[in-house]
């Protein structure tokens, strides 16, 4: 067979070849979740929740800052120390007392804010509560996990900080009105 015949025959070889097995599933897995394999599902989930809460907190902070320029200073009694936290992932009575007090002011203050700001704050608080539930659920299965314990404590602090910011705003406004 000479060169020309080989050339012409080569041009008739199949150029479109169907793979014997499905290749898309492997490609889809790689392009849709490339980072997932590096994380355990629980820690990845916790990281996502933390990111969401962090971003949400920033948005709420900005909304509060815009809605009222009054500077809110936390009173000393609101600084608390968690007294019992560990394998039982429960917080102590001192924390509960401060939290309950702030929660009451929080509800009142929400009613005074603009609908948009209120929605932002409620979304933020919802994310924090969802995160706390996630952490508690995760700790049910892995009660000795130090990282999860720390993350849960951090979520409680986030919740308290948000309560503190919103409730403090209410107090400042009330004080100004009184004058």
């Amino acid at each position: 067979m000479n060169d020309d015949k080989i050339t012409q025959a080569a041009q008739q070889l199949a150029t479109d070849v169907t793979p014997e097995r499905d290749l898309w599933s492997g490609i889809a897995a790689a392009i849709e979740a490339p980072e997932r394999r590096r994380w355990t599902p629980m820690l990845a989930q916790a990281a996502v929740v933390l990111l969401l809460v962090g971003a949400s907190s920033a948005i709420t902070y900005m909304a509060l800052k815009d809605s009222n320029s009054t500077q809110v200073i936390a009173s000393p009694e609101m600084v608390f120390e968690q007294v019992s936290f560990g394998n039982r992932h429960k917080l102590g009575p001192a924390f509960q007392a401060v939290r309950d007090e702030l929660a009451g002011d929080f509800e009142l203050e929400l009613l005074r804010l603009s609908p948009q700001t209120r929605q932002d704050i409620e979304t933020d608080m919802g994310s924090i509560h969802a995160a706390i539930n996630e952490m508690n659920n995760a700790l049910e299965g892995d009660p000795e996990n130090i990282l999860l314990q720390k993350q849960l404590l951090r979520m409680y602090r986030e919740e308290l900080a948000l309560l503190q910011r919103v409730s403090g705003l209410s107090r400042s406004v009330m004080m100004r009105n009184d004058i």
């Binding site: 067979m1 000479n2 060169d3 015949k5 080989i6 050339t7 012409q8 025959a9 080569a10 041009q11 008739q12 070889l13 199949a14 150029t15 479109d16 070849v17 169907t18 793979p19 014997e20 097995r21 290749l23 898309w24 492997g26 490609i27 889809a28 790689a30 392009i31 849709e32």
Partner: protein, 200 residues
């Protein structure tokens, strides 16, 4: 073999030019959507191009499992590089270039790995099935037995219709080297086919 020569030859650029204009429009929409991380649009691109991409990988590697891996890797790389595709060339050409680079990269990656692939291919002793029949299958098998350099050029130039300039650019060799490798490939193929009883 003579009967086969009466059919119209493959001409890649001509084939692409005669494709429905709507297909091109649709493809450009898929490309834009995929560039915005729409994986379903990318799946449409995959379905449109997997045949040729896998074909190139299969002809160049002459090994089914390697070709599958290369094709997958090529599409994953294409996804990761989609934002760099500006439309300066046809999407298919851009994609084929990635596929060729993937094959070459895997070949270069490890000589031991290449030896393993060759060993597996020899042990299996089963020629690749690219859908060719009769005498064309004999030619296909013979192409699979060419040395890597000659095979690469023969596949891209003689089968897929790329010019020597394009082939050289894809393989990282000069156009003149591409021509020399093609000549070598044809000579070796003629010898192989002659041994199987084909007349000159």
């Amino acid at each position: 073999m003579t009967a086969l020569l009466t059919a119209e030859p493959n001409d890649y650029s001509q084939t692409m030019a005669t494709l429905n204009t709507d297909a091109f429009t649709e493809e450009s929409v898929w490309i834009r959507r995929a560039q915005k991380s729409d994986s379903r649009a990318f799946e449409s691109l995959y379905k449109l191009h997997i045949g040729r991409v896998y074909g190139i990988c299969l002809r160049m590697t002459a090994n089914v499992s390697e070709a599958e891996d290369c094709a997958q890797e090529a599409f994953i790389q294409a996804w990761n590089k989609l934002d760099k595709f500006r439309g300066g060339s046809a999407f298919s050409t851009w994609l084929h270039r990635i596929a060729v680079n993937t094959v070459l990269g895997r070949i270069r990656k490890s000589q031991r790995e290449q030896d393993r692939i060759l060993a597996v291919a020899q042990l299996a002793d089963s020629p690749i099935d690219a859908g060719d029949s009769g005498e064309l299958r004999d030619l296909s098998d013979a192409v699979g037995k060419l040395p890597q350099g000659a095979r690469n050029v023969f596949v891209l130039h003689a089968i897929y219709g790329y010019s020597h300039d394009e082939t050289g650019a894809m393989l990282g060799i000069a156009a003149g080297t591409s021509k020399a490798q093609l000549h070598r490939a044809k000579r070796m193929l003629a010898q192989q086919l002659k041994q199987q009883g084909y007349r000159a």
